[in-house]
């Protein structure tokens, strides 16, 4: 009773604090100065029809590098704490038998899911989506694969090679932008901007999106693989 009263009091206090904010809120009738710049010059600056991607990958690419770094750190910590040594591992753990529906569905759907993920990350500069979204969808394909076959083992060497290579390539594209062009870090003027709306356009953006997607996809798949493998500990 006492505890519940305190909780109610806390909620009421939060309401009192937040109510003036809610009361004084007015939806903006026009974009901020920065938003106006992006909407007016985004297409001519970056050649991408997806303005969100042009902000995420080009204008504020440094923030994306930060996000990728945080994800990498999280994946490293998970693999550090959850890795199972060879002595403690149960080989071929007995798991609940997978139903026919799930195994058939996974065989049919996993390639399609990975294909959708690849489509989203390759077309990141044209349609909604991009490296992060495509990578996450590819990782959910890996999840379905694991659900259908829990004893499946990911090839860690390939995953680490793809992940490190794409990470290095992402940073290298950014640094080349600083060194060679006047555009600054992750400048997409590395290549010809092309005509907006075509698949090969928007300078370095498709390339950056592909590397981002590969990195995010392999990283999340690796995290899933580690979680699955940690189930085999004695």
């Amino acid at each position: 009773m006492d505890k519940k009263f305190m909780v109610a009091l806390l909620v009421a206090a939060m309401a009192v604090i937040l109510f003036p904010l809610f009361q004084s809120f007015e939806g903006g009738t026009q974009l901020s100065e920065l938003g106006q710049y992006y909407t007016q010059n985004g297409v001519s600056d970056t050649g991408a029809t997806n303005l969100v991607a042009s902000v995420v990958v080009t204008y504020r690419g440094l923030d994306t590098l930060g996000e990728v770094t945080i994800l990498f750190l999280a994946a490293s910590i998970i693999s550090f704490f959850l890795s199972v040594s060879k002595d403690d591992r149960i080989e071929n753990r007995t798991v609940m038998s997978v139903t026919e529906i799930l195994s058939t569905a996974s065989q049919t759907l996993v390639p399609i899911i990975v294909l959708v993920g690849a489509y989203i990350l390759v077309n990141g500069h044209l349609t909604p989506g991009g490296g992060f979204q495509g990578g996450a969808i590819i990782a959910s394909g890996t999840l379905l694969m694991f659900l259908a076959n829990p004893n499946h083992k990911l090839n860690h060497t390939i995953i680490h090679v793809i992940e490190s290579t794409s990470g290095i390539a992402f940073v290298a594209i950014g640094v080349i932008g600083v060194l060679m062009m006047d555009g600054g870090f992750l400048s997409n003027k590395l290549f010809d901007l092309g005509t907006p709306g075509e698949v090969i356009s928007a300078g370095a953006m498709p390339l950056i999106n592909i590397f981002l997607g590969l990195k995010v996809g392999t990283e999340l798949s690796n995290v899933l693989g580690i979680f699955v493998e940690s189930q085999n500990e004695k």
Partner: protein, 80 residues
């Protein structure tokens, strides 16, 4: 119409979150939190943010739910 749909989805998200916190069965709670992710991804789509909706659908409702289940299984193994 859109407002009504958004209101229904918002209420569903709140109910799912409440259920996730107050349910005794952990498996049901994990599924409820996955439903919250799914519903909020539809809400993001309605609010014209398809990028965020994609991320939320794959990470919020698929990957986190699975990782919660793996962790739950692991905890049960350790506690016998």
């Amino acid at each position: 119409m859109l407002t009504v749909l958004a209101a229904i989805l918002g209420i569903a998200a709140v109910v799912g979150a409440y259920y996730a916190i107050h349910n005794e069965k952990l498996t049901a709670a994990i599924i409820a939190s996955g439903i919250v992710g799914m519903v909020s991804s539809i809400l993001f789509l309605l609010l014209a943010a398809p990028d965020v909706a994609m991320t939320e659908a794959s990470i919020g409702s698929a990957l986190t739910t699975a990782i919660f289940f793996f962790t739950l299984n692991k905890i049960r193994q350790t506690n016998g």
